[in-house]
């Protein structure tokens, strides 16, 4: 059994090499790292300006983040950009004045910041997120997102393209009459994709978070990367086996990439929130990846049970699809 598996591994390794799979992964690694190092870490969102109308002088201000205005009209004019937040202390009850940005989450942050900025204790806290500097927070965030994208979109494509080649050559059918198990045929491919994805995840993490920080989050990141890698590889396997040609596969790939992965990114990056998102499995995988990068890995056993169950189910479906493909006519 071990000898046969070794030969399957050797063959799949050659197929991946000839398909320039590793070159593609290396290219992605360089591209992502360059972007993170030279672009993303310098990106900083401008702090929401806060305007205060306080004709009775109730509030003493010692922070640079709050600007006083003389009239209510000026307060409203300053907040017309839908970005700034205003506080009116002219009556007994303080009133928050804001024009909605259109996003509930963003409006919530603006309001929270406006109140916090008036509190002297808030001064300085905004520049620190947990124990991270702003740069490290950015690095963790974007590295998690890039890794998620690489594993869910690019890795998925990698296994599928390899399998499509074998399908087109017809050699899958030859394996039906060889003294080698169908499970071993699938395991061999999964092992290559898993090893490649874990190596990618480790390098991306260490390069972009730095060695000392990278090493501390690496175990949790590798667990999440392993789960995502296996799930996506098996989905890629099923699609490549089930669809008749690469054109149809490309269409499905587009659907998966755009309609499945994009909402997760939008929710993570822009503050868009939809009630149904919590039922989206990719959202949970995405948030678990982020949590792993911020040193707070998911601890819920149920999450891991569902992941293992999902991998098991997909493996069984892949096995069945492979058997069906072997039976097909030439």
């Amino acid at each position: 059994m071990g000898r046969e598996f070794f030969h399957l591994l050797k063959k799949d390794g050659r197929l991946m090499l000839s398909g320039k799979f590793f070159l593609l992964a290396l290219g992605s690694l360089v591209l992502y790292s360059v972007y993170i190092h030279f672009v993303y870490v310098n990106v900083n969102q401008e702090i929401y300006p806060v305007y205060l109308y306080d004709p009775k002088g109730k509030q003493a201000i010692s922070t640079e983040y709050v600007t006083r205005v003389d009239t209510r009209e000026r307060l409203e004019a300053a907040c017309a950009d839908r970005y700034s937040a205003g506080v009116d202390l002219s009556s007994d009850e303080p009133e928050l004045y804001m024009l909605s940005s259109g996003l509930d989450t963003v409006d919530h942050y603006r309001a929270a910041w406006a109140w916090a900025a008036l509190d002297e204790m808030a001064d300085g806290q905004v520049q620190i997120t947990g124990t991270n500097s702003r740069e490290m927070k950015n690095r963790r965030e974007i590295t998690a997102e890039f890794l998620f994208f690489e594993l869910s979109a690019v890795g998925f494509l990698g296994l599928a393209s390899m399998l499509f080649k074998e399908k087109q050559m017809g050699v899958i059918r030859v394996h039906a009459i060889l003294p080698v198990s169908r499970s071993a045929f699938i395991f061999s491919k999964l092992l290559w994709i898993l090893a490649s994805d874990l190596t990618f995840a480790a390098l991306l993490t260490v390069i972009n978070l730095g060695f000392p920080v990278g090493v501390t989050v690496l175990p949790a990141v590798l667990v999440q990367a392993g789960i995502l890698s296996l799930l996506m590889a098996l989905i890629g396997f099923l699609c490549a086996i089930g669809l008749p040609d690469f054109r149809q596969f490309s269409l499905l790939y587009l659907v998966i990439a755009v309609f499945v992965t994009t909402p997760v990114f939008l929710a993570g990056q822009t503050g868009l929130s939809w009630g149904w998102l919590k039922y989206h499995p990719m959202y949970h995988l995405f948030m678990s990846m982020k949590s792993a990068y911020f040193g707070a890995p998911v601890k819920a056993i149920l999450y891991y049970l569902v992941c293992v169950g999902g991998i098991g189910l997909l493996f069984l479906l892949a096995h069945r699809a492979l058997t069906r493909e072997m039976v097909k006519e030439g």
């Binding site: 000898r3 030969h7 050559m169 039906a176 009459i177 060889l178 003294p179 080698v180 072997m326 039976v327």
Partner: protein, 282 residues
């Protein structure tokens, strides 16, 4: 070696592909399975090679029911040549054979180079990728793949398809050599010449039924009208006469100056197939 009793198979409820096939193949025999496309040839071969399950009836190979004997030991004893040359296009002939043979016990394997030489494979192409091979060369490598494990039963699906006439002759010679070694050959084809020249017995399959099963010679004899056509010259005039074979026992039964040709009028296997099924083999 192969025993099939009342074999039935359906791809779905309304589509029964095989309707109770019964036949046996003896050890060392070349058994031809002839039929047009869609007749059930490939389905039968897939069941015999353990690819297709869920059949009805009994099918045994090496004395064991196929459905309960599909471990590595079963696949180590069979060799299969598919109709199309399925090979890794990015690998060379040697690498392909090295890979496929790696799943069999070492002591069972034939020498790859010797085998390729036997199949008259061009040595210049040994290390070149299969993608640069002609169809005939790919077919040779596929045949080598089927033979490399020294199988006890060889399943051949259209073995001479895609070969030039000399390649077809070579393949027939190799199949004959395998038989002489004691290998049982199950030949699936709609090439009547291959069947006629190679097979000890042939079965005609049509619409999932075996409509005739015998040696090619007996099938031809049974379906011959026992007449010969003689083309001859008499007094400067060329004439054709049809006589019964029995009439020839005492010599040519009519006056003649020169016999030009004698046509036996023996039917081909295809003629017989049409007689049995009302349709051609292609």
């Amino acid at each position: 070696m192969i025993e099939v009793r009342d074999l039935t198979f359906s791809y779905d409820k309304d589509k029964q592909a095989l309707h109770g096939l019964t036949f046996t193949v003896k050890e060392g025999e070349i058994f031809g399975f002839l039929g047009p496309n869609g007749s059930g040839k490939s389905t039968t071969q897939k069941i015999l090679t353990g690819i297709l399950r869920g059949y009805g009836g009994r099918v045994s190979l090496f004395g064991e029911e196929i459905s309960s004997a599909q471990g590595p030991a079963f696949f180590q004893k069979i060799g299969v040549l598919f109709e199309f040359p399925y090979l890794y296009a990015n690998l060379s002939a040697v690498d392909n054979l090295g890979y496929f043979s790696s799943f069999y016990p070492g002591e069972q394997l034939r020498d790859v180079m010797e085998l390729l030489d036997r199949l008259e494979f061009k040595r210049d192409f040994l290390k070149k990728p299969v993608s640069s091979y002609s169809k005939g060369m790919r077919q040779r490598v596929s045949m080598a793949r089927a033979l490399v494990s020294n199988p006890k039963v060889l399943f051949l699906d259209e073995p001479t398809s895609g070969l030039d006439p000399s390649g077809a002759v070579l393949f027939r010679r190799i199949i004959e050599e395998e038989r002489q070694k004691g290998t049982t050959v199950f030949l699936t084809t709609h090439n009547m010449l291959d069947a006629d020249l190679l097979c000890d017995r042939v079965a005609f399959i049509s619409g999932g039924n075996i409509v005739a099963l015998d040696t090619p010679q007996k099938l031809k004899e049974q379906n011959s009208d026992r007449h010969v056509v003689i083309d001859y010259m008499y007094r400067g005039k060329r004439t054709e006469a049809t006589v019964e074979i029995e009439e020839l026992e005492a010599g040519i039964p009519f006056p003649h100056d020169e016999i030009i040709r004698i046509h036996s009028q023996e039917p081909t296997l295809e003629d017989i197939f049409i007689q049995y099924t009302g349709r051609g083999l292609t």
